[in-house]
Structures are given as C-alpha cells and as structure tokens.
Symmetry: C2
Subunit: 361 residues, 2 copies
Amino acid sequence: MRFAAIMAGGQGKRLWPLSTKKRPKQFLTLHGEQTLLQETVERVTLLIPPEKTYVVVGKEHVEVVLEQLPSLPPDNIIVEPMGRGTAPCVGLAALRLSRIDPEGVMIVLPADHVVKDKDRFLKLLEKAATLAAEGTHLVTLGITPDHPATGYGYIQASTPWPKSGAVVESEVLEVERFIEKPDKETAKRFLDEGGYFWNSGMFIWRVDTILREMKVQMPSLHAGLMTIEERVGAPDYEEALARIYRQQDIISIDYGVMEKSDCVLVLPTGEIGWSDVGGWTVLNEILEIDGEGNVIQAHHIGIDTANSIILSKHADVKDRLVATLGLSDLVIVDTDDILLVMDKGRAQEVKRLIEKYTKER
Amino acid sequence: MRFAAIMAGGQGKRLWPLSTKKRPKQFLTLHGEQTLLQETVERVTLLIPPEKTYVVVGKEHVEVVLEQLPSLPPDNIIVEPMGRGTAPCVGLAALRLSRIDPEGVMIVLPADHVVKDKDRFLKLLEKAATLAAEGTHLVTLGITPDHPATGYGYIQASTPWPKSGAVVESEVLEVERFIEKPDKETAKRFLDEGGYFWNSGMFIWRVDTILREMKVQMPSLHAGLMTIEERVGAPDYEEALARIYRQQDIISIDYGVMEKSDCVLVLPTGEIGWSDVGGWTVLNEILEIDGEGNVIQAHHIGIDTANSIILSKHADVKDRLVATLGLSDLVIVDTDDILLVMDKGRAQEVKRLIEKYTKER
C-alpha cells in the first residue's frame, strides 16, 4: 500500500507578513488558483488518492486544512500538539500508517513546495516508491542544481546503486553525506565537481524502515512514539501525546535520521522546476516577471521601478493602489495589518523583523 | 481696518497621496494638533481676529473650512467657482473687502505654510501692515534664506526704502526683480552675493492699492472683477462669477502683478522657521528626525533604515505596522487607499505618478 504523508506544520516566517503564524505559506495562494497545500495534494493524486493521503498539522490549523481539502477524509488529519520539527512529525505519521500497513510505503512531502513538472515528478515518485518497497533503504529526491544556491542544504552522492550500472541522471545513487547550506564559493565548487544535489526534504520509505531507523538513530523519540502508540484509544491519549511532544527537542528528520543513517539512497530529479518557496526572492522563480524585472501582484503604477517584488493583498480593500517611483531591488509587501518594505538582497533577514516585532509586543 | 485673506485653494498634489484633491494639505494635520489652515488662522489671531479673517476656497471645500474653523463667521468664506491661480483669488478677496473698507489693509496668507516663530512673524506683519497702510506700495515678506534652496522663487532686493537708512535685517527694501526657482548653482550664487530672499507668497497691501495695480497690470482680470462686483446681490451672481472665472487664464499674483509692478517693497523676515511644505522632503524640516535621520509617523519597526520619511495614516485601521529593513532615502506614505514608495531624491516627481494614475482611470 502507498501513502502520502504531507507535512503542513510550517510556521510561515520567511514570507512574512504575507504568511503569518495564523496562516503560514502552505495555506496561501501564491500563484494560480490553489494554495500550496492544495497543489501538493493535487500533484500526487494520480499516484496517491485522497483516501491514502495524510496531512500532519498543528492543532491551530486543522480548520484551514479541512476547508482547503474537502476531499480529504477528516480522519486523515494527524494533529500535532505543538511543532517539534520534522522528526516527530514523520514519526507520528509513521505510527499512524503502521496501524494500517506496516510494510506500506510512505511518501513524505512538505506542503509548501512548488514543482512545475508534475509528470516527471510523478515518474520519480513511482520509481522511488518501488525502490523503497524493498524495505532496505530510505530514499530521498535530490534536486539537480541549476545554480550555486546557498539557500538549500546539499546531498553529496557517491556510487550508483545497485553497484553495477553507469551514473546517469535519474539513476539511483548512494548518499555519501548531507551538507548544511554552503557559502557561495562552496556551492560553486559543488556544481563544478558534480554529484551534489539539493536536499528537497521529500522522502520515500517503508513505514517499518523509517521506524527501524528511528529506533537506531533517535531512540528517545522512538521510545516516545511507542508510549504514544500504547495510549491510542485511551482517554488520556491527547494528554500523553502532548507530554511526549513537550519532551522532544526540536529536530529535523534530516538531522535526526538521514545524516546518520547508512542506508540512504538519492534519486536525482533532473529539471523538475522545484522550489521550496523559502523566501521572497524565490517569487522571481515562480511568478511572472515583467519587462523591468518586477514581480507584481498589486494594482500598481510605477515610474523607473525595476527588479522589485510588489505584492498587495488585502481582504477587504478593493483597488488599493501601490505607486512607486525611482526604485530598484526592493520587496514591498502590503497586507491588511502589516506593510513591509525591504532591500531584496536582505530578504532572508525578514526573521529579524519578526523577532523585533514579537519582542515589542 | 485690517483684514486677513487666507488662500485655501491649493490642490494638494505635492504631498500626494496623504493630500488629495478631496483633502489638500491645508486641511491636514501634519504636526501637532491643528491642521495647517487652523494654524494659519490661529497664528495671526492676535493681530487679526476671526471676524476680520476671510478664507478664499473652492466650493468643494467650504464644508471642511466650516468644520475646521468654527469661530470664523460663515459669511467670511469667499467661494471660488473653480481654481484659477492666486491672481483671481486675491482679486475676489479684494473685491469683498473693498465693500467693507477700500482703504483697509489686507494681509494675504497661503493656508498651507508653516511658521515656527510666531512672535517674530506677528511683529513683521505689524510692520508690513503699517507700511502698507500708506497706500503707496505692495509689501511682501521675503524669507531670509539659510540654504541655497531650489524649490522656491527668489526676490532680489535693491536699495533700502525709504532711500535713507542703512541696510539691516528686517529693514524694508525695494524690490529689483522676482526670479523663478533657480538651479543649485544659481541659488548658491544668490546666497553668496546676498540681497536675495525667498518669495513667501505672503503679501500685505491696502485693498485699493492692489485693485489699482491689478487695473494696470491685469486689466482683463480687473474688468472681470468689476463685472462680478456689478452682479453682487443679483440673482445671476453665481452664474456671472463662474462665467468670469472660466474666462481667466490660470495665473499667480506673483506673475500677474508683483513681477511687473514698480511699487513693491520686501520686508526680510530673518529667521522665522518658515516652510511652504512644498513636498515630502520638507517634512524633514518641520517634523522630528530620529537618530537615523528618519521622519516617522507610523507604528514602525526598522532595521538599518535611514534618512527616510515613513508615514502611515489610516482612518480606521488601528495599529497597522510598517516594517522596514535595509533602506535609505525613501519616502513611504501609506494611506487608506494608496501606498506610495519612492526615492526621496525624486519626491518632486510625485506629480508624474498622479498624472499616470489619473490617465489610467
């Protein structure tokens, strides 16, 4: 059996103030008609129907998931009592799925990514799922880099797997190591050398494989999961779940398992138009750019305005005008209650503003 | 008898979008508690009480004047059917005042200026009014320049008046010529040479003196005014007024009378903290500047934000936040229906945006 486990617990700091704690970016319509969450589910629906799709989400966002995914069985929403990174999130999903089919394959997908080439993406997932079904490996998609990005972690591949066979794109490779976001120079070297891929955060494995690996690499989390499992159906289940979660460190599945495990395979994606929508500047890649290099989603008039991102999204105000004169390389985000204006080159620092704002309140 | 004639017909283009056609800047609170119009009336009230104060305004702004100046007798509002520059505006006021006291002194004041040193200002007006009461000269206040501004017209003074007496500050001088807004180099030369003053647009004269000068310099306007005068009290007065106005060219009193007249005296003001609030950058002079060189009227958090003007004025939205990061020398004006972001150095070009906006609609 195959499942999709969609991780929708992101906090939405990087597209602030369009995305907020109340409505993180996975629940927003950034391009087209659908929200990123809706696109994520829709994208794999030919491979995994909604009945086999599970969404892991914080309790504060259950309502919005129900609203945005009417075809999802409400019981397929797995509720986290609080955010503790992707490791407990994946563990909780695996726990649920192991009750249905412990040898089933789960496809773990972040809810806030963009993938333009759906067909190729599905073929890759199909291949990865077949591979994972053997129960021997953790499989991840490695995005074939087209520029020396510093905003992503990298995966260094080693030899092809199985050992025989030539290294070609979309062949399966064994993983040598996971690498944190590099500086520009290192990233350039990775591209020159070849054999490096962006860490997509998309994973494919059998339920029992990941639980087995968790038991080895994260015994404390695994023990916690087992305690949770014992309380399923008990009146104090919620309480036990919250207690175990509270005890966990905030830790990603990458750091907790993938980097340490020695049975990880990477499936290079080739060109699939992937983005993690990890910040304002990524909008340049996923939205239409005008003749002056601007990405504009606003009623806008401009004179000498170039290479900027201008978004105005108001719930109630119709026809609000954004007028600009003599600007370049700015990000302007105008929402109902917050206006952000910043240097595009410093868009990654938006978190500093959120911190300052939170502290002030 | 002494009168104040306050010209409140400005269109509010230069502080757009805070000021708009519907609410030009004279009706806005830019600093402190009062609007610029209220300040203008208040400023001279020790010299000219409200009963002797007249406000010339377009018909679309009669309501706001009544609202903002409750102590002004409603009959003291002189309504222009349309804007035709300051020459017809002054003419219409003179016409009204000549019915009360043709030998009275009228002090003509724009409604949208800032003057910080009220005491000195009143002393100057007192002196100018005394001088004007002789009925021989048109008197204007010349602002003693403290920097080579290019945003103001200049007045070149010649010899002291009366001919005897030494040239000292606040002495009265004869006017050699009026000069249009100069370029930077010329403005610097003016300051180096001395004897040049900023044209304040504030005039003091006897009612009969200005009407006499109008008859000489602007015979067509004067004839029109006489026609209007004939219709006072007639049922077709409004119609006649509108017809005459429609026939006038848009012309300022400076260009129409002052530049051509040979009986103009200038009274240098010395340091009185005057500004015509002629554009966004002037806010640097009249509002408080923080340690980073910013003028901020907003709920603002900023990181590395310098030398910028940030205003957020919403009628209904409480606590709207403006967040900025990595900016300098910008003007950000955030109103209910328009957001403006522009290079401070190009603030004078804001009219181009209004034109583009108007054309689009």
